[in-house]
């Protein structure tokens, strides 16, 4: 009921906003008045909710009702699609979203096939496909730096994430104080994880200066948050039996974790960690773009000078390494099963 109303409210509210914007054609200046705009949006949302309720009264099935129930009216199996309100609702909403997206991204066939721009793209591809292998030694040196940057980030993240994983597991954190700690840490990690490694890299490149160290720190923070989440989910799914058995020998809490839980989660931990390293190498190449050091930084330098043949060489090196690591990590994880 509540979910249906909210869902329909958002959908109808969106359509109303789009219509209003199309009719009134507000200027950018006006759109930037956050206060006024939010009042409008709230009004539209409320109208949408009312509309949803009204339609239900009229025994019309809205999309929200179909998704979340309860249905306002029974739906005959054989009714043609264009006689169902909610299908129209979906279609119109998608169309509207598409139109807005096209307008917003300034989509233009003219630019895509513009004579001048097109020639530039051709030049670029020619360069990329005809790499200058002279920069290969430098590229290899840099990708090695990248790989080790990812490796260090992963290794430093492991012990932190390991400890955090138990403190962030519901089945371990029982009792009022423990629950508060659990909740605070979980929230903190969720926030940390939702910030992309790229953003962390920008933060750290200001903090410790541009270079591999900043990139490594960024990857590490992100890895700690991601691994802790994955690890703690493993801890939450362990079998209770061995825990009870170890507790009943008179073992204390830490011994119980070490002897009953750790053996159960060790293999999945290793598997996650290998995968994380693999992800980190990929991320490390990107992070270099914002000053995180390694091959990404080198790439950005040549790209800035439009030296596409050199860029081609670097991209080839990245592709080979990422592919190889991907394969290796997949095989290792398979073997650990």
């Amino acid at each position: 009921m509540l979910r249906r109303t909210i869902f329909d409210g958002v959908l109808f509210g969106f359509l109303l906003s789009v219509l209003t914007a199309a009719v009134l054609a507000p200027t950018e200046e006006q759109l930037l008045q956050l206060g006024i705009v939010s009042v409008w949006i709230l009004i539209f949302f409320a109208l949408g909710c009312v509309l949803s309720g009204a339609l239900t009264r009229l025994r019309v099935n809205t999309l929200g009702a179909v998704l979340f129930g309860p249905l306002a009216a029974a739906e005959p199996e054989d009714r043609a699609w264009y006689r169902l309100f909610w299908k129209w609702q979906l279609l119109v909403a998608l169309l509207a979203a598409f139109v807005v997206a096209v307008v917003k991204t300034e989509f233009s066939f003219i630019e895509l096939f513009d004579q001048h721009g097109f020639a530039g793209a051709v030049r670029l591809f020619k360069g990329l496909l005809n790499p200058n292998w002279e920069v290969l030694p430098r590229a290899v040196l840099n990708i090695v730096e990248t790989i080790f940057m990812a490796f260090l980030a992963t290794s430093l993240a492991i012990p932190l994430a390991f400890v955090l994983s138990f403190v962030c597991a519901k089945n371990i954190m029982q009792g009022p104080v423990a629950r508060v700690v659990y909740f605070v840490l979980r929230t903190f990690l969720n926030v940390t994880r939702s910030i992309e490694a790229l953003i962390w890299a920008i933060i750290f490149s200001v903090w410790v200066g541009i270079g591999p160290f900043a990139g490594m720190l960024a990857l590490m923070i992100h890895s700690v948050a991601s691994l802790a989440k994955q690890y703690s989910e493993m801890v939450e799914s362990v079998e209770e039996g061995p825990i009870e058995a170890i507790e009943s020998t008179g073992a204390n809490k830490l011994q119980t974790i070490w002897y009953a839980i750790v053996p159960q989660v060790l293999l999945p931990y290793i598997s996650f960690t290998v995968y994380r390293w693999d992800i980190n190498v990929r991320m490390a190449t990107i992070i270099g773009l914002v000053g995180g050091g390694g091959i990404g930084t080198m790439l950005v330098q040549y790209q800035g000078q439009a030296m596409w043949r050199e860029v081609g060489c670097i991209i080839a090196v990245i592709a080979v390494v990422v592919w190889a690591l991907d394969q290796a990590s997949a095989h290792i994880r398979e073997a650990l099963k």
Partner: protein
């Protein structure tokens, strides 16, 4: 008369969801007894055993074990010492998978280990020897280096018994020790339990289901129904009629005397 090892007075347990699993249970256990608790699933047998070693917190009542009131203990170290003295085995064995049998058995010594020793898994030669002795006692010393998850059910339960013995307990709590074993293996495991009861003088409290096993192994029987003790007596006093009363009218099906 032997002395009283355990005295339970007015023990009640109400779970957080409101289920009253035990209602004013009174029970006395003598040193050296083989006490069997019977009762339908859900009658509170596991809850009773798990309150004794404080795996569950009793809601009210007292548990006197060797003169100490276990139910009133606050210090976790005291509780851990009680747990060491009341070893426990389980229906699903609860061994640590991917660890060797010997290592599993040595875990019975964790109560005496410092954090440092536990972290590195440091066990003395003496402890290793004891673990092997206990494995020999249950007839599977040759399995010591094997991974615990590669054993059969009966072998796992014997390893669990060896782990329990390594705790040097005075009392052994066995929660349906043979319920996931086939009938033949069942007797093997029960025979080992009787052996440690008679030869090592360890008192045993076991939850069992089959009347034939109760008659063969118990020295005394207690029956639980809906969290209350409805029968106390010698195994030969438990007639078919009593059995039906405890287990309900469908009892024929759960009382295969031909085991």
């Amino acid at each position: 008369m032997a002395e009283v090892l355990l005295r339970v007075e007015k023990l009640s347990k109400t779970y957080a969801n409101g289920v009253q699993a035990l209602k004013n249970v009174d029970l006395e256990v003598q040193q050296g007894e083989f006490l069997v608790i019977i009762g339908l699933s859900g009658s509170g047998k596991s809850t009773l055993l798990r309150c004794l070693n404080r795996l569950q917190e009793p809601t009210s009542g007292n548990i006197f074990f060797q003169g100490q009131d276990v139910s009133q203990m606050q210090d976790v170290r005291d509780i851990r010492e009680v747990r060491r003295q009341m070893a426990m085995i389980f229906q699903h064995f609860n061994l640590i998978p991917r660890q060797s049998v010997l290592k599993n058995v040595m875990m019975g010594r964790l109560a005496d280990k410092t954090l440092w020793q536990s972290f590195w898994g440091i066990f003395s030669a003496e402890e290793k020897r004891q673990a092997l002795d206990n494995l020999r006692l249950v007839g599977i010393a040759e399995k010591a280096p094997v991974r615990a998850d590669q054993l059969s059910g009966g072998q796992k339960q014997r390893v669990a018994i060896a782990r329990a013995l390594t705790q040097k307990p005075t009392l052994l709590l066995a929660d349906e020790p043979v319920s996931s074993l086939d009938p033949a293996t069942c007797h093997v495991v029960m025979d080992y339990l009787r052996k440690i009861n008679q030869e090592l003088g360890i008192t045993v409290i076991a939850n069992l289901h089959f009347l034939s096993l109760v008659r063969k192994y118990a020295t005394r029987v207690v029956a639980l129904k809906d969290g209350e003790i409805v029968f106390r007596g010698r195994p030969d006093e438990i007639t078919e009629e009593w059995f039906r009363r405890i287990y309900g009218e469908g009892a024929q099906d759960v009382a295969p005397n031909d085991l």
